[in-house]
């Protein structure tokens, strides 16, 4: 499954960069995030509970911020597993200054396994897009608050 897109954030790249690197802010914006604890440099332990109407599942795993080139790009690596299956993916995030704003471009690929792969196929991509959209909506709002 591939996910890509871009969002315009009303903050300078440096601010956006700081935001992405702020675990408290990330935890706040990640839908269903129950825990995001540092686990070594640029690495976090994550627990999330994703839900879509009746469908729900808890996942525990890790988030790693790699290949960091502040304030331009990084590689987000994540891995999680839960009873419905596992998710593993990575995505490149790039920040481009657009006047006072920042265009954040993301492009990533995720693999899913287990029950969600076997039966969730029809909706999994749309659900993922929704989660990403929710994240950026919140993230954008939080950045604006800070600005």
């Amino acid at each position: 499954m591939k996910l890509s897109g871009s969002v315009i954030l009303s903050a300078a790249p440096e601010k956006v960069w700081a935001g992405i690197n702020d675990p408290v802010l990330l935890a706040k914006c990640l839908p269903g995030c129950e825990r995001l604890d540092p686990d070594g440099p640029d690495r976090f332990k994550v627990a999330v509970s994703f839900g879509l109407a009746a469908i729900s599942g808890k996942y525990a795993g890790s988030l790693e911020l790699a290949e960091r080139k502040p304030p331009h790009s990084m590689l987000l690596k994540m891995e999680g597993k839960g009873i419905p299956g596992f998710v593993k993916g990575q995505g490149r995030v790039e920040l481009h200054a657009k006047g006072k704003q920042t265009e954040l471009h993301y492009e990533g690929e995720a693999q899913v396994g287990g029950m969600i792969a076997a039966v969730g196929q029809r909706m999994i991509e749309a659900a993922s897009k929704k989660i990403v959209a929710q994240f950026f909506e919140k993230f954008s709002a939080e950045l604006s608050k800070k600005a």
């Binding site: 899913v112 396994g113 029950m115 792969a117 076997a118 039966v119």
Partner: protein, 815 residues
């Protein structure tokens, strides 16, 4: 001795004796078994196609309430042997399956731990508490990539994923191709299928420590073989193991196997001292019961200008999955043996590469290698007809052996027993106005409607089989016992699970003994009751199992004739057994009632000299050859050009399975087989994505045919008795899936001919067909999860401009 029996019931379309109990819910399946103190097992299965197992933490699971045992491979140690594989191919690499994966998992669904709890819900809950730490490895999914240089290997001890290479050649193939005027080539895929028995697998095991006896109830097609193997896997004496098959709700080959769960449940019963039950979920059935087909075939046919076949070459890549189940490596070799179909091909060469991939094992699924062979030759013949500009029927007729040429030897080393292929085609043509159909097709094409007419002819290999050709014996046993009150028990080593032999064997016994089918009880599937048998598969139930019953009945008829002649003062050789009487043909007044004769045998006061008391005969029948049923099918499909939807409109089948015991059962087998072919041709495909996830993992995504998909089927028969067995029967259990699949594929290709399509791979899903009809109007192919399920651009050659343009189709931007 006795004269030939009258045919009163044999050949009658008697309704099945089995059905009242099945229809009324009175039958007992594995899940109906409830034993005092019974525990329930649930399996922890890998969500990864390929991974190292770093560690398994069972502590939480063990602490959960209601848990009796949680076991991993480490706990088992060497207590249970590997899953057996009966097939041996020279230089075959090892790929034996452990009952629980130890340090590596090789397909999604492979069990890594088993949980035993007081109830089924609890067992399932606790399975989720077992924490397995996996380290993902690169999954090997595509069999062609799997054998490319540098591919990730499934087994560290093997340098590559080639399980074996197998070659077969007969005749001078080089010369045939050198002399050819025309060589026709085609690549085709026979996609992976899920057998989908209505009842999933199920096992119950009970151990009686005092008697040291283990009873295993399993929904299987091979109770005796299972007993031998489970005893060996558990290291217990075979005579202390009893296997019972309860009612079996379909198998289609998926229960012709020895599975880890069957041995494990036995072990768990011994380990816990309590009965244990496991019922497979549908999802487990998808992932862990054997799959069928899965070949990539490249075929070449060499022709003379006039359409005479000179030779054939075929290269087969068979995707075996991750491990060998009972017959895994053997199945593609059956394709090799039958590759020539029913044509006179003087020279043929087959090369098979068996490939290990991170998927469930393939094995025998209804037809087991023969549907693939028939598909290859029958599709290739249609492609050839197109290239030779001949009518497909005409090309076929040109290359058939005549009935006088039988027994007919193929270049692959088989001896076809008997046939009249022309007769089957002639009868089919009486049922169908072929010229009129072609005229209608031409007319409708002008209106933008796309009819396809498909023809297939087939020969298949049945009655498996002579023991020389079978890994574990190819005979069958039967015991017939006439009880003191004249009621008859027939014990068969066959293990019918839907075939209806409780009915047909009753008909046979009734006629042979001058009784009625109600007087006969057929018993099967209990190793403690029935003498050792081989089981039901390979269309052998009637031709081998039935022949054993027949031979046991012949023995009893001889004994009855001796006793009756003695009582009536007649000659034993002239006795007629019918209508509950045994009488002299020459002097009918010399007659004894059947019951009087039976009573005499048991009270044993007036038996002829040298005749033992009792009426009991056991036979182990060894066939001298396979049998080779055949047939000719024709169907008509129509494709909706706007959607790509393929609708099956008409189906005509002429099959020849030799003599018929019960035409209703034969029709049922033919109907069911055709429907299963509709499944393969139009709907079914087990799709693994590039990570080895089975994404058609439930019936919401894996489409099987339903009643509404099937039109009225016109069936008929020719009868060419087999010389192989005394009843002249051949077998019909798999004929439908063998003959019908290429028929449907040929019809679809025929419908698409105006679009320049030469071949399209199954299944004929709408979007794939729609794209072929609208090439260029919709740019990118579907974002298909597996490269195998993409529209086959390579194999489909299309006209530059499709003749019909539905109004709605227009160019779309690639996404």
């Amino acid at each position: 001795m006795a004269t030939a029996p009258a045919k009163k019931y044999i050949g009658m379309p008697l309704k099945r004796k089995e059905d009242p109990r099945l229809i009324q819910g009175l039958a007992h399946y594995a899940d109906d078994i409830a034993l005092p103190g019974m525990l329930h097992a649930a399996f922890v299965r890998s969500p990864y196609a390929h991974a190292k197992v770093r560690s398994i933490d069972t502590s939480k699971a063990k602490a959960a309430p209601g848990v009796v045992a949680v076991l991993t491979a480490a706990d088992l140690g060497t207590s249970i042997g590997m899953v057996p594989c009966a097939a041996v191919i020279p230089d075959m690499k090892s790929a034996a399956r452990p009952v629980l994966a130890k340090d590596r998992v090789r397909f999604v669904g492979e069990a890594v731990a088993v949980v035993v709890a007081e109830d089924r819900y609890g067992a399932r809950d606790v399975a989720d508490l077992v924490e397995v730490d996996y380290e993902a490895l690169t999954p090997v999914v595509d069999p062609e990539k799997a054998i490319a240089k540098g591919a990730q290997t499934l087994y560290d001890q093997h340098k590559d994923n080639v399980a074996f290479r197998w070659e077969l050649e007969g005749g001078d193939v080089k010369k045939a191709f050198a002399q050819a005027d025309k060589i026709v080539k085609q690549r085709m895929i026979n996609q992976r299928l899920i057998p989908m028995a209505m009842e999933p697998r199920g096992v119950v095991a009970e151990y009686k420590a005092g008697e040291k006896s283990l009873t295993v109830w399993s929904s299987t097609q091979i109770p005796h073989l299972l007993r031998t193997q489970v005893a060996a896997m558990l290291g217990v004496p075979e005579h202390s193991v009893r296997v019972i098959t309860p009612e079996v709700g379909g198998g289609f080959g998926s229960k012709l196997n020895v599975y880890p769960e069957e041995a494990l449940l036995g072990y768990l019963a011994m380990h816990t001292g309590r009965p244990v039950k496991w019922i497979e979920s549908r999802r487990e059935n998808f992932q862990t019961a054997i799959h069928g087909r899965d070949q990539i075939d490249e075929v070449e046919l060499a022709f003379k200008r006039d359409g005479t076949l000179l030779g054939m070459r075929c290269r087969i890549i068979a995707d075996l999955g991750a491990y060998y189940q009972l017959l895994t490596p053997l199945i593609p070799t059956l394709t090799g043996l039958m590759i020539c179909g029913l044509y006179k091909i003087p020279a043929a060469r087959v090369e098979i590469t068996g490939v290990l991939t991170n998927k469930m094992s393939t094995d025998a699924y209804r037809g087991a290698g023969r549907p693939e062979a028939t598909y290859i030759i029958e599709r290739a013949m249609d492609v050839a007809a197109g290239e030779l500009k001949m009518d497909p029927l005409e090309l076929r007729r040109k290359n058939l052996p005549s009935p006088k040429e039988f027994p007919y030897a193929t270049p692959t080393g088989l001896i076809y027993d008997s046939a009249n292929y022309q007769g089957a085609i002639d009868l089919l043509m009486k049922k169908v106005d072929y010229k009129k159909l072609r005229a209608e097709q031409a007319k409708l094409r002008k209106e933008g409607r796309y009819l396809g007419i498909g023809i297939s002819t087939y020969v298949e290999i049945c009655a498996m089989g002579p023991s020389s050709a079978m890994p574990a014996g190819g005979w069958e046993s039967a015991t017939v016992r006439i009880e003191p009150t004249g009621k008859v028990n027939v014990l068969t080593g066959a293990s019918p699970h839907g075939q209806g032999q409780e009915t047909s064997f009753s008909q046979l016994a009734a006629d042979m003994l001058g009784l009625d089918p109600e007087d006969i009880l057929i018993t099967h599937g209990d190793t403690q009751v029935v003498p050792y048998g081989i089981g039901t598969f390979g269309s052998r139930g009637t031709a081998v199992g039935g022949t054993a019953v027949y031979k046991a009945l012949v023995k009893l008829r001889e004994k009855l004739s001796l006793i009756a002649a003695h009582l009536a003062g007649a000659e034993p050789g002239e006795m007629i057994i019918e209508g509950r009487k045994i009488y002299s043909k020459k002097q009918p007044k010399k007659s004894v009632g059947f019951q009087d004769c039976v009573t005499a045998a048991y009270v044993a006061k007036s038996l002829p000299a040298g005749v033992e008391p009792g009426l009991d005969a056991t036979v182990f029948y060894e066939p001298t050859n396979f049998t080779f049923p055949f047939g000719a099918h024709l169907c008509v499909v129509e494709i909706d050009a706007e959607t790509g939807d393929v609708r099956l409109d008409k189906y005509f089948a002429v099959d020849d399975c030799g003599n018929v015991l019960n035409p209703l059962l034969v029709d049922g087998q033919v109907h069911g087989g055709i429907v299963q072919s509709v499944g393969q041709a139009l709907l079914e495909e087990a799709v693994y994505d590039d990570q080895g996830q089975l994404i058609t993992g439930e019936l919401t995504d894996y489409a099987i045919p339903r009643a509404a998909d099937i039109p009225w089927m016109t069936t008929d028969r020719t009868v060419t008795p087999s010389p192989v067995n005394p009843m002249g029967v051949k077998g019909v259990g798999e004929a439908g899936t063998i003959g019908a699949t290429p028929c449907l594929a040929n019809a679809v290709a025929d419908a698409l001919a105006p679009f320049g399509v030469k071949h399209v791979d199954m299944p004929f899903k709408r979007e794939k067909i729609w794209r072929l009809m609208h090439e260029g109007k919709c740019a990118a192919p579907a974002a298909s999860p597996s490269s195998r399920s993409k529209p086959k651009a390579k194999s489909a050659k299309r006209a530059k401009r499709a003749p019909a343009k539905p109004k709605s189709a227009k160019r779309r931007r690639a996404r």
